[in-house]
């Protein structure tokens, strides 16, 4: 794999961010709103509960981590959508760039955009609501890593879906995090859910992160085996998503979708 085409895709994303302040704003505005909304909510909950339980690391921490995952996923899809919206597939895929280079470029672009969102969230959560991650110590890195990998996997799946079904299938990508969040146990322990949903939750890497976070906050022990399971699952999802994208791309080349990818819907 060559590094220059990967750099090209990242550079294109940087050009777009530099060229339009609204693009930068869209990266930070939603996460900022989420942190402020949930920040005040946690403050309020802290005042009405008698047990002295601190909701900030549990709820606001969870919101921050979930938003990070969402930004990672959308970071991949947004970089891909740039080529969809500008009808650029013929120029891109008619060049010597390989699918691996293209996907790596999308993922690298997402690292930049999601890091920007994460920094904004951290500044707001720490400065306004006193959120501290010291509690999690070195575990914060694997927590973020698992969410990052799963975000990448879902981002690639979203791209595959749009590549297969056409630009109008874009709507499918946006609600994916919202659909997953009840099953991933972001805001509550999975033990509160029916057994069949708990089985689904065990297939989702974020569940291991959020269960671990809650265990630490409530003074319990975090299971390393459980976190490793989340990491392994996330890696498997990335590999599976890459395979799906490659297969969808090959099918698009065989059927001619790439060459005439501009129709509103493609069947």
């Amino acid at each position: 794999m060559r590094i220059t085409p990967v750099r090209a895709i990242v550079l294109r994303q940087l050009y777009l961010l530099r060229g339009g302040p609204t693009r930068v704003l869209s990266l930070v505005i939603w996460v900022a709103i989420d942190i402020i909304l949930w920040g005040f909510m946690t403050k309020y909950l802290n005042t009405v509960t008698a047990a002295g339980f601190d909701f900030v690391p549990v709820l606001l921490g969870a919101v921050l981590m979930w938003d990070f995952f969402t930004r990672v996923m959308f970071g991949v899809t947004m970089a891909f959508f740039e080529d969809v919206w500008s009808r650029n597939f013929l120029n891109i895929f008619g060049s010597p760039v390989s699918i691996n280079e293209y996907l790596t470029g999308l993922v690298s672009s997402s690292i930049i955009t999601s890091t920007l969102g994460l920094v904004v969230m951290l500044i707001l959560a720490v400065a306004l609501f006193g959120l501290s991650f010291i509690l999690y110590g070195g575990l914060l890195v694997p927590f973020l890593m698992v969410l990052f990998l799963f975000g990448i996997a879902l981002g690639i799946v979203g791209c595959s879906f749009v590549l297969r079904f056409g630009p109008s299938a874009e709507w499918f990508v946006w609600p994916i995090p919202a659909i997953l969040s009840p099953f991933a146990g972001v805001f509550y322990p999975i033990s509160t859910m029916p057994t069949w949903i708990q089985w689904i939750a065990h297939l989702l890497p974020p569940m291991y992160v959020f269960e671990g976070m809650r265990a630490i906050v409530t003074g319990g022990a975090m299971s390393m085996k459980s976190l490793t399971m989340g990491g392994v699952l996330a890696v498997l999802y990335v590999l599976a998503a890459s395979l799906v994208f490659t297969r969808v791309y090959r099918n698009a080349v065989r059927t001619g979708l790439i060459a005439r990818y501009s129709a509103e819907t493609i069947t």
Binding site: R2, T4, A8, Y15, N88, F93, S95
Partner: protein
């Protein structure tokens, strides 16, 4: 060695054959016109040579490299411009050229960008977003991008369709000059028979995905009892069977 060697190329969509047993080659420095009515298989052929459409059968070699097994090496020597593939409008001319130059792995990219900007009279548009350029200017940017990697094979799908006659003439002269000076092989599709006659060394008339006629555009009409290339084109479109013998 031919720059482009297409052998027994075939593309079918279900029962419909879009390209049927197409065989031809282009030599270094040669401009070959790929002609035919709408649906004859010109764009399908170009898409297969670009690697964005998988052939149902046959082989494509670019400077001896198989597109099927050595895609990167083959496409590194190729580039294209088409009216239906403009560059992203939300990037400036220079940003687009840098982006595509990096995708193609162009060495000394900055100098190369300056060269193609000058070559296509785009120096004044360096920092202009492509989306606000006129269609003629956008076409020139596409052509500049097509020249970035100094291709050995250039695929041009109606490259002058949105240009005014004066600019179209200039572009034709530039491409003609490139083909001669740098021995670039060009596959050129156009519906402008005057243009084809003035720029192409050889033409291939496609009909229903097959090469119906082949020859020098200046002598071919006479060989088939037609006064002009345009008359021959119309005959190919209306009564291909009468010309098949």
């Amino acid at each position: 060695m031919p720059t482009l060697q297409v052998s027994s190329l075939r593309k079918s969509y279900g029962d419909r054959l879009a390209v049927d047993d197409l065989t031809f080659s282009t030599a270094p420095g040669e401009i070959v016109g790929l002609l035919g009515p709408n649906g004859a298989g010109k764009t399908t052929t170009i898409n297969m040579i670009l690697g964005v459409l998988e052939p149902s059968g046959g082989r494509i070699h670019i400077e001896g490299r198989s597109l099927a097994t050595d895609r990167r090496e083959a496409l590194q020597r190729t580039n294209f411009a088409a009216v239906y593939a403009p560059l992203p409008g939300n990037l400036t001319v220079e940003q687009n050229l840098k982006f595509f130059g990096m995708l193609y792995g162009v060495a000394s990219l900055k100098n190369r960008i300056d060269t193609v900007l000058e070559q296509f009279d785009l120096l004044g548009f360096r920092r202009t977003k492509c989306g606000v350029l006129s269609s003629g200017e956008q076409t020139r940017v596409c052509l500049a991008k097509a020249m970035l990697n100094a291709p050995r094979l250039l695929l041009l799908d109606e490259p002058t369709a949105s240009l005014d006659p004066a600019t179209a003439r200039e572009v034709r002269a530039k491409i003609r000059g490139l083909a001669t000076d740098r021995q670039v092989s060009v596959l050129w599709t156009s519906h402008n028979m005057y243009e084809v006659e003035s720029v192409c060394d050889r033409v291939l008339f496609l009909s229903r995905g097959r090469v119906l006629l082949e020859g020098n555009p200046k002598t071919l009409p006479d060989e088939h009892g037609k006064g002009t290339l345009e008359e021959l084109f119309i005959a190919v479109a209306r009564e291909p069977l009468s010309l098949e013998s």
